[in-house]
Protein backbone atom coordinates (compact mmCIF):
# COMPACT_ATOMS: atom_id res chain seq x y z
CA UNK A 1 0.00 0.00 0.00
CA UNK A 2 1.38 3.42 -0.89
CA UNK A 3 1.18 6.35 1.44
CA UNK A 4 -0.55 9.29 -0.27
CA UNK A 5 2.00 12.03 -0.83
CA UNK A 6 1.06 15.37 0.65
CA UNK A 7 1.84 17.91 -2.03
CA UNK A 8 3.14 21.25 -0.76
CA UNK A 9 0.72 24.01 -1.70
CA UNK A 10 1.59 25.49 -5.07
CA UNK A 11 2.88 29.03 -5.24
CA UNK A 12 -0.02 31.35 -6.00
CA UNK A 13 1.00 33.38 -9.05
CA UNK A 14 -0.63 36.44 -10.62
CA UNK A 15 0.09 38.79 -13.50
CA UNK A 16 -1.44 42.25 -13.81
CA UNK A 17 -1.76 44.59 -16.78
CA UNK A 18 -1.86 48.31 -15.95
CA UNK A 19 -0.95 51.12 -18.40
CA UNK A 20 1.17 49.21 -20.90
CA UNK A 21 0.83 47.88 -24.42
CA UNK A 22 0.52 44.21 -23.24
CA UNK A 23 3.91 43.56 -24.88
CA UNK A 24 5.32 42.23 -21.60
CA UNK A 25 2.46 39.75 -21.42
CA UNK A 26 3.08 38.80 -25.07
CA UNK A 27 6.70 38.19 -24.13
CA UNK A 28 5.47 36.10 -21.20
CA UNK A 29 3.45 34.01 -23.66
CA UNK A 30 6.63 33.65 -25.74
CA UNK A 31 7.83 31.35 -22.96
CA UNK A 32 6.02 28.72 -25.08
CA UNK A 33 6.47 25.19 -23.75
CA UNK A 34 8.14 26.45 -20.56
CA UNK A 35 4.66 27.67 -19.62
CA UNK A 36 3.78 24.01 -19.01
CA UNK A 37 6.61 23.81 -16.47
CA UNK A 38 5.44 27.04 -14.89
CA UNK A 39 1.85 25.78 -14.77
CA UNK A 40 3.10 22.63 -13.01
CA UNK A 41 4.98 24.72 -10.43
CA UNK A 42 2.44 27.45 -9.70
CA UNK A 43 -1.26 28.06 -9.50
CA UNK A 44 -2.21 30.96 -11.73
CA UNK A 45 -4.80 32.82 -9.69
CA UNK A 46 -5.13 36.06 -11.67
CA UNK A 47 -3.86 37.07 -15.12
CA UNK A 48 -5.19 38.78 -18.25
CA UNK A 49 -3.66 36.01 -20.38
CA UNK A 50 -3.99 32.90 -18.22
CA UNK A 51 -7.04 33.25 -16.01
CA UNK A 52 -10.62 34.47 -16.17
CA UNK A 53 -10.84 35.69 -12.58
CA UNK A 54 -12.00 39.31 -12.46
CA UNK A 55 -11.16 40.25 -8.87
CA UNK A 56 -7.58 40.20 -7.62
CA UNK A 57 -7.58 37.41 -5.02
CA UNK A 58 -6.21 37.26 -1.48
CA UNK A 59 -3.05 35.37 -0.57
CA UNK A 60 -1.00 35.80 -3.75
CA UNK A 61 2.66 34.77 -3.41
CA UNK A 62 4.14 36.34 -6.53
CA UNK A 63 2.68 39.04 -8.76
CA UNK A 64 4.18 40.40 -12.00
CA UNK A 65 2.88 43.88 -12.80
CA UNK A 66 3.11 45.21 -16.34
CA UNK A 67 2.49 48.88 -17.04
CA UNK A 68 2.64 52.27 -15.39
CA UNK A 69 0.01 53.74 -13.08
CA UNK A 70 -1.92 56.14 -15.30
CA UNK A 71 -5.55 56.17 -14.18
CA UNK A 72 -7.79 55.66 -11.17
CA UNK A 73 -8.35 51.97 -11.94
CA UNK A 74 -4.58 51.35 -12.23
CA UNK A 75 -4.08 53.05 -8.88
CA UNK A 76 -6.82 51.07 -7.11
CA UNK A 77 -5.56 47.76 -8.52
CA UNK A 78 -1.95 48.58 -7.62
CA UNK A 79 -2.91 49.26 -4.01
CA UNK A 80 -5.06 46.12 -3.90
CA UNK A 81 -2.43 43.80 -5.39
CA UNK A 82 0.19 45.13 -2.98
CA UNK A 83 -2.04 44.45 0.00
CA UNK A 84 -2.76 40.91 -1.23
CA UNK A 85 0.68 39.80 -2.55
CA UNK A 86 3.87 38.71 -0.83
CA UNK A 87 6.24 39.59 -3.70
CA UNK A 88 5.52 42.29 -6.27
CA UNK A 89 7.63 42.58 -9.42
CA UNK A 90 7.75 45.66 -11.68
CA UNK A 91 7.49 43.80 -14.96
CA UNK A 92 8.93 45.71 -17.93
CA UNK A 93 9.98 49.30 -18.61
CA UNK A 94 6.51 50.88 -18.19
CA UNK A 95 6.16 49.56 -14.65
CA UNK A 96 9.83 50.35 -13.92
CA UNK A 97 10.04 53.87 -15.40
CA UNK A 98 6.57 54.82 -16.78
CA UNK A 99 8.25 54.61 -20.22
CA UNK A 100 5.93 55.47 -23.14
CA UNK A 101 2.72 56.04 -21.11
CA UNK A 102 4.74 58.49 -19.01
CA UNK A 103 5.44 60.72 -22.00
CA UNK A 104 2.31 62.73 -21.32
CA UNK A 105 4.03 63.91 -18.12
CA UNK A 106 5.92 66.28 -20.44
CA UNK A 107 2.68 68.30 -20.45
CA UNK A 108 2.28 68.22 -16.67
CA UNK A 109 3.66 71.74 -16.36
CA UNK A 110 1.53 73.42 -19.05
CA UNK A 111 -1.84 75.07 -18.54
CA UNK A 112 -4.48 72.44 -17.94
CA UNK A 113 -1.87 69.82 -17.09
CA UNK A 114 -1.08 66.52 -18.75
CA UNK A 115 -4.52 64.97 -18.28
CA UNK A 116 -6.35 67.81 -19.99
CA UNK A 117 -3.67 68.14 -22.68
CA UNK A 118 -3.71 64.50 -23.69
CA UNK A 119 -7.51 64.34 -23.79
CA UNK A 120 -7.70 67.59 -25.77
CA UNK A 121 -5.14 66.31 -28.26
CA UNK A 122 -6.66 62.87 -28.64
CA UNK A 123 -10.37 63.62 -28.62
CA UNK A 124 -10.66 67.20 -29.87
CA UNK A 125 -7.67 68.39 -31.92
CA UNK A 126 -7.26 65.17 -33.86
CA UNK A 127 -10.95 64.38 -34.25
CA UNK A 128 -12.30 64.46 -37.80
CA UNK A 129 -15.82 65.21 -36.60
CA UNK A 130 -17.92 65.07 -33.44
CA UNK A 131 -15.04 66.23 -31.28
CA UNK A 132 -15.86 65.81 -27.61
CA UNK A 133 -14.21 64.77 -24.39
CA UNK A 134 -15.06 61.26 -23.19
CA UNK A 135 -17.41 61.40 -20.23
CA UNK A 136 -18.63 58.16 -18.71
CA UNK A 137 -18.29 58.29 -14.91
CA UNK A 138 -17.90 54.87 -13.37
CA UNK A 139 -17.15 53.26 -16.75
CA UNK A 140 -14.13 55.04 -18.23
CA UNK A 141 -11.56 55.51 -15.43
CA UNK A 142 -10.30 59.02 -14.81
CA UNK A 143 -6.71 59.72 -15.81
CA UNK A 144 -4.27 60.67 -13.07
CA UNK A 145 -2.48 63.98 -13.56
CA UNK A 146 0.90 62.23 -13.64
CA UNK A 147 1.73 58.77 -14.95
CA UNK A 148 3.85 57.05 -12.30
CA UNK A 149 6.20 54.08 -12.23
CA UNK A 150 4.85 51.36 -9.95
CA UNK A 151 7.44 51.90 -7.20
CA UNK A 152 6.28 55.51 -6.74
CA UNK A 153 2.85 54.16 -5.79
CA UNK A 154 3.53 50.92 -3.88
CA UNK A 155 6.56 49.09 -2.50
CA UNK A 156 8.13 46.88 -5.17
CA UNK A 157 10.30 43.86 -4.35
CA UNK A 158 11.96 43.24 -7.73
CA UNK A 159 12.41 45.11 -11.00
CA UNK A 160 12.52 43.30 -14.32
CA UNK A 161 13.31 45.94 -16.95
CA UNK A 162 12.99 45.58 -20.72
CA UNK A 163 10.61 46.75 -23.41
CA UNK A 164 9.58 44.03 -23.30
CA UNK A 165 11.79 41.82 -21.14
CA UNK A 166 12.63 38.87 -23.36
CA UNK A 167 11.02 35.49 -22.67
CA UNK A 168 14.49 34.20 -21.74
CA UNK A 169 14.94 37.04 -19.24
CA UNK A 170 11.52 36.32 -17.70
CA UNK A 171 12.27 32.59 -17.51
CA UNK A 172 15.64 33.02 -15.80
CA UNK A 173 14.11 35.46 -13.33
CA UNK A 174 11.18 33.18 -12.50
CA UNK A 175 13.37 30.06 -12.31
CA UNK A 176 15.53 31.72 -9.65
CA UNK A 177 12.47 32.80 -7.67
CA UNK A 178 10.81 29.37 -7.95
CA UNK A 179 14.00 27.80 -6.58
CA UNK A 180 13.64 30.17 -3.65
CA UNK A 181 16.73 32.15 -4.66
CA UNK A 182 17.22 35.83 -5.19
CA UNK A 183 17.29 36.45 -8.98
CA UNK A 184 20.82 37.14 -10.27
CA UNK A 185 19.88 40.10 -12.48
CA UNK A 186 23.33 40.92 -13.81
CA UNK A 187 24.53 41.84 -17.26
CA UNK A 188 22.78 43.12 -20.37
CA UNK A 189 20.74 39.96 -20.87
CA UNK A 190 19.00 40.50 -17.54
CA UNK A 191 19.07 44.25 -16.99
CA UNK A 192 19.22 46.29 -20.18
CA UNK A 193 16.40 48.78 -20.63
CA UNK A 194 14.62 49.04 -23.98
Amino acid sequence: MTTPQVQPPKLRFATVWLAGCSGCHMSFLDLDEWLFELAAAVEIVYSPVASDIKVFPEGVDLCLVEGAVANADNLALALQLRARSKLVVSFGDCAVSANVPGLRNLWAGVAGGSRQSVLERGYVELADRGAQHPHAPGIVPELLERVLPLHEVIAVDYFLPGCPPSAERIREFLEDLLRGERPQQQGAEQLRFG
Binding site: S90, S97, Y158, R192
Partner: protein
Protein backbone atom coordinates in the same frame (compact mmCIF):
# COMPACT_ATOMS: atom_id res chain seq x y z
CA UNK B 1 66.51 57.22 -31.52
CA UNK B 2 63.49 57.93 -29.39
CA UNK B 3 64.03 58.37 -25.74
CA UNK B 4 61.93 56.20 -23.49
CA UNK B 5 59.56 58.47 -21.56
CA UNK B 6 60.02 58.27 -17.80
CA UNK B 7 57.64 55.89 -16.12
CA UNK B 8 56.03 55.74 -12.71
CA UNK B 9 54.62 52.88 -10.70
CA UNK B 10 51.36 52.95 -8.78
CA UNK B 11 49.02 50.43 -7.25
CA UNK B 12 45.49 49.86 -8.56
CA UNK B 13 43.18 47.56 -6.59
CA UNK B 14 46.26 45.99 -5.00
CA UNK B 15 47.91 45.39 -8.37
CA UNK B 16 51.21 47.15 -9.22
CA UNK B 17 51.07 49.02 -12.49
CA UNK B 18 53.76 50.91 -14.43
CA UNK B 19 52.77 53.66 -16.87
CA UNK B 20 54.30 56.68 -18.59
CA UNK B 21 54.72 59.60 -16.21
CA UNK B 22 52.15 61.71 -18.09
CA UNK B 23 49.48 58.99 -18.17
CA UNK B 24 46.07 59.65 -16.70
CA UNK B 25 44.64 57.36 -14.03
CA UNK B 26 42.10 56.15 -16.57
CA UNK B 27 44.91 55.09 -18.90
CA UNK B 28 46.66 53.39 -16.00
CA UNK B 29 43.49 51.55 -14.98
CA UNK B 30 42.95 50.31 -18.52
CA UNK B 31 46.60 49.35 -18.97
CA UNK B 32 46.23 47.17 -15.86
CA UNK B 33 43.39 45.36 -17.62
CA UNK B 34 40.79 46.94 -15.32
CA UNK B 35 37.68 48.97 -16.15
CA UNK B 36 35.75 51.89 -14.75
CA UNK B 37 32.59 53.10 -16.44
CA UNK B 38 32.84 56.31 -18.51
CA UNK B 39 30.40 58.40 -20.54
CA UNK B 40 31.94 61.80 -21.25
CA UNK B 41 35.34 60.31 -21.99
CA UNK B 42 36.20 59.53 -25.59
CA UNK B 43 39.68 58.41 -26.60
CA UNK B 44 41.12 61.02 -28.96
CA UNK B 45 39.36 63.99 -27.30
CA UNK B 46 40.48 66.14 -24.38
CA UNK B 47 39.06 64.66 -21.14
CA UNK B 48 36.77 66.92 -19.12
CA UNK B 49 35.63 64.91 -16.09
CA UNK B 50 31.98 65.86 -16.62
CA UNK B 51 30.04 62.63 -16.04
CA UNK B 52 31.73 61.61 -12.74
CA UNK B 53 31.36 57.89 -13.50
CA UNK B 54 35.13 57.25 -13.46
CA UNK B 55 35.58 58.62 -9.92
CA UNK B 56 38.20 56.64 -8.01
CA UNK B 57 39.39 56.51 -4.42
CA UNK B 58 43.01 57.55 -3.75
CA UNK B 59 44.39 56.42 -0.42
CA UNK B 60 45.37 59.36 1.78
CA UNK B 61 43.50 61.80 -0.47
CA UNK B 62 40.51 63.60 1.06
CA UNK B 63 38.15 63.37 -1.93
CA UNK B 64 37.26 61.14 -4.84
CA UNK B 65 38.84 62.11 -8.16
CA UNK B 66 37.76 61.48 -11.76
CA UNK B 67 40.30 59.09 -13.29
CA UNK B 68 40.07 60.64 -16.77
CA UNK B 69 41.49 64.04 -15.72
CA UNK B 70 43.83 62.94 -12.91
CA UNK B 71 47.48 62.34 -13.73
CA UNK B 72 48.93 59.13 -12.34
CA UNK B 73 51.69 59.69 -9.79
CA UNK B 74 54.43 57.57 -8.30
CA UNK B 75 53.25 55.51 -5.34
CA UNK B 76 49.52 56.30 -5.72
CA UNK B 77 47.24 53.69 -4.18
CA UNK B 78 44.04 53.62 -6.21
CA UNK B 79 40.75 51.80 -5.60
CA UNK B 80 38.24 51.67 -8.44
CA UNK B 81 35.32 49.68 -7.01
CA UNK B 82 34.78 50.37 -3.31
CA UNK B 83 31.16 50.05 -2.07
CA UNK B 84 31.06 53.85 -1.77
CA UNK B 85 32.15 54.33 -5.40
CA UNK B 86 29.72 51.71 -6.65
CA UNK B 87 26.90 53.37 -4.77
CA UNK B 88 27.77 56.83 -6.15
CA UNK B 89 28.10 55.48 -9.69
CA UNK B 90 24.70 53.86 -9.62
CA UNK B 91 23.23 57.04 -8.18
CA UNK B 92 24.85 59.11 -10.94
CA UNK B 93 23.42 56.85 -13.65
CA UNK B 94 19.95 56.95 -12.06
CA UNK B 95 20.19 60.75 -12.04
CA UNK B 96 21.10 60.76 -15.75
CA UNK B 97 17.93 58.79 -16.48
CA UNK B 98 15.75 60.89 -14.17
CA UNK B 99 17.11 64.19 -15.51
CA UNK B 100 16.33 63.73 -19.20
CA UNK B 101 13.58 62.03 -21.17
CA UNK B 102 15.31 58.74 -21.88
CA UNK B 103 12.69 56.41 -23.29
CA UNK B 104 14.72 53.53 -24.71
CA UNK B 105 11.78 51.79 -26.38
CA UNK B 106 11.68 54.03 -29.44
CA UNK B 107 15.17 55.53 -29.45
CA UNK B 108 17.42 55.43 -32.52
CA UNK B 109 20.24 54.26 -30.26
CA UNK B 110 18.32 51.49 -28.47
CA UNK B 111 20.75 48.58 -28.20
CA UNK B 112 23.77 50.73 -29.16
CA UNK B 113 23.59 53.29 -26.36
CA UNK B 114 26.35 53.93 -23.84
CA UNK B 115 23.84 55.17 -21.25
CA UNK B 116 22.08 51.81 -21.48
CA UNK B 117 25.51 50.14 -21.23
CA UNK B 118 26.53 51.94 -18.05
CA UNK B 119 23.10 51.29 -16.49
CA UNK B 120 23.82 47.58 -16.94
CA UNK B 121 27.39 48.01 -15.71
CA UNK B 122 26.34 49.66 -12.44
CA UNK B 123 23.47 47.20 -11.95
CA UNK B 124 20.65 49.75 -12.28
CA UNK B 125 17.24 48.05 -12.45
CA UNK B 126 15.24 51.23 -11.77
CA UNK B 127 15.72 54.87 -10.78
CA UNK B 128 15.09 55.76 -7.16
CA UNK B 129 14.75 59.39 -8.23
CA UNK B 130 11.49 60.64 -9.77
CA UNK B 131 11.75 61.38 -13.48
CA UNK B 132 11.79 65.12 -14.14
CA UNK B 133 10.21 65.24 -17.62
CA UNK B 134 11.94 68.49 -18.61
CA UNK B 135 10.46 70.39 -21.53
CA UNK B 136 13.03 70.01 -24.30
CA UNK B 137 12.86 70.01 -28.08
CA UNK B 138 14.14 68.29 -31.19
CA UNK B 139 16.21 70.30 -33.67
CA UNK B 140 15.50 68.77 -37.07
CA UNK B 141 16.62 71.80 -39.07
CA UNK B 142 19.75 70.16 -40.49
CA UNK B 143 19.29 68.38 -43.82
CA UNK B 144 21.03 65.16 -42.74
CA UNK B 145 21.06 65.02 -38.96
CA UNK B 146 18.89 65.74 -35.95
CA UNK B 147 19.47 66.69 -32.31
CA UNK B 148 16.98 65.31 -29.81
CA UNK B 149 17.66 67.30 -26.64
CA UNK B 150 15.43 64.92 -24.67
CA UNK B 151 18.15 62.27 -24.93
CA UNK B 152 21.19 64.53 -24.36
CA UNK B 153 23.28 63.92 -21.22
CA UNK B 154 25.54 66.97 -21.77
CA UNK B 155 28.69 64.87 -22.00
CA UNK B 156 30.05 67.44 -24.52
CA UNK B 157 31.64 64.79 -26.71
CA UNK B 158 30.03 66.47 -29.76
CA UNK B 159 31.37 69.87 -28.66
CA UNK B 160 34.94 68.55 -28.38
CA UNK B 161 34.73 66.38 -31.50
CA UNK B 162 33.64 69.33 -33.63
CA UNK B 163 36.17 71.71 -32.09
CA UNK B 164 39.23 69.47 -31.77
CA UNK B 165 38.88 67.01 -34.65
CA UNK B 166 36.75 68.74 -37.27
CA UNK B 167 37.90 72.25 -36.35
CA UNK B 168 34.49 73.78 -37.03
CA UNK B 169 33.36 74.47 -33.44
CA UNK B 170 29.67 74.38 -34.28
CA UNK B 171 28.66 73.15 -30.82
CA UNK B 172 28.77 74.80 -27.43
CA UNK B 173 27.06 74.54 -24.06
CA UNK B 174 24.46 77.21 -23.37
CA UNK B 175 22.36 78.26 -20.38
CA UNK B 176 22.74 77.17 -16.77
CA UNK B 177 21.45 74.57 -14.32
CA UNK B 178 18.51 72.49 -15.44
CA UNK B 179 18.14 74.70 -18.55
CA UNK B 180 21.68 73.80 -19.67
CA UNK B 181 21.75 72.49 -23.23
CA UNK B 182 23.95 71.92 -26.25
CA UNK B 183 23.62 74.83 -28.68
CA UNK B 184 24.57 75.13 -32.35
CA UNK B 185 26.36 78.29 -33.50
CA UNK B 186 25.03 81.27 -31.58
CA UNK B 187 22.08 79.23 -30.31
CA UNK B 188 20.65 78.94 -33.80
CA UNK B 189 18.84 76.09 -35.51
CA UNK B 190 21.60 73.64 -36.49
CA UNK B 191 20.67 73.82 -40.18
CA UNK B 192 21.33 77.57 -40.22
CA UNK B 193 24.88 77.34 -38.86
CA UNK B 194 27.19 77.93 -41.79
CA UNK B 195 30.23 76.64 -39.92
CA UNK B 196 28.79 73.11 -39.98
CA UNK B 197 30.54 70.99 -42.60
CA UNK B 198 27.91 68.23 -42.33
CA UNK B 199 30.72 65.77 -41.58
CA UNK B 200 28.65 63.80 -39.03
CA UNK B 201 31.53 63.35 -36.58
CA UNK B 202 29.40 64.71 -33.73
CA UNK B 203 26.83 62.01 -34.47
CA UNK B 204 29.60 59.39 -34.39
CA UNK B 205 30.77 60.68 -31.01
CA UNK B 206 27.36 60.93 -29.30
CA UNK B 207 26.95 58.17 -26.69
CA UNK B 208 23.13 58.23 -26.75
CA UNK B 209 20.40 58.85 -29.30
CA UNK B 210 20.64 62.65 -28.93
CA UNK B 211 22.51 63.15 -32.22
CA UNK B 212 21.29 60.97 -35.04
CA UNK B 213 21.17 60.52 -38.78
CA UNK B 214 17.72 61.30 -40.11
CA UNK B 215 17.42 58.05 -42.04
CA UNK B 216 17.89 56.00 -38.87
CA UNK B 217 14.71 54.76 -37.19
CA UNK B 218 14.34 53.00 -33.82
CA UNK B 219 17.41 50.95 -32.86
CA UNK B 220 19.14 51.70 -36.19
CA UNK B 221 21.86 54.08 -35.01
CA UNK B 222 25.40 52.80 -35.51
CA UNK B 223 27.67 55.07 -33.49
CA UNK B 224 31.39 55.22 -34.20
CA UNK B 225 33.07 56.27 -30.95
CA UNK B 226 36.42 54.99 -32.31
CA UNK B 227 36.62 57.71 -34.98
CA UNK B 228 37.96 60.46 -32.72
CA UNK B 229 40.98 58.37 -31.77
CA UNK B 230 41.52 57.12 -35.34
CA UNK B 231 41.56 60.64 -36.75
CA UNK B 232 43.66 62.08 -33.93
CA UNK B 233 46.29 59.35 -34.33
CA UNK B 234 46.28 59.54 -38.11
CA UNK B 235 47.05 63.24 -37.91
CA UNK B 236 49.76 62.86 -35.27
CA UNK B 237 51.39 60.03 -37.21
CA UNK B 238 50.83 61.84 -40.55
CA UNK B 239 49.37 58.62 -41.83
CA UNK B 240 47.78 60.12 -44.92
CA UNK B 241 50.51 62.68 -45.60
CA UNK B 242 51.94 62.23 -49.13
CA UNK B 243 51.74 58.47 -49.00
Amino acid sequence: MTQASPSITLQINGQPCTVAADATLLQAIRSAGLQVPTLCHLDGLTPVGACRLCLVDLEGHPKLEPACVTTAAEGMVVHTHTPELESYRRMAVELFFAEGNHVCAFCVANGACELQDVAVEVGMDHSRFPYQYPKRHVDASHALFGLDHHRCILCTRCVRMCDEIEGAHVWDVGYRGSACSIIAGLDQPWGEVEACTSCGKCVDACPTGALFRKQDATAEKQPHPERAQQLAEARTDRRWHNQ
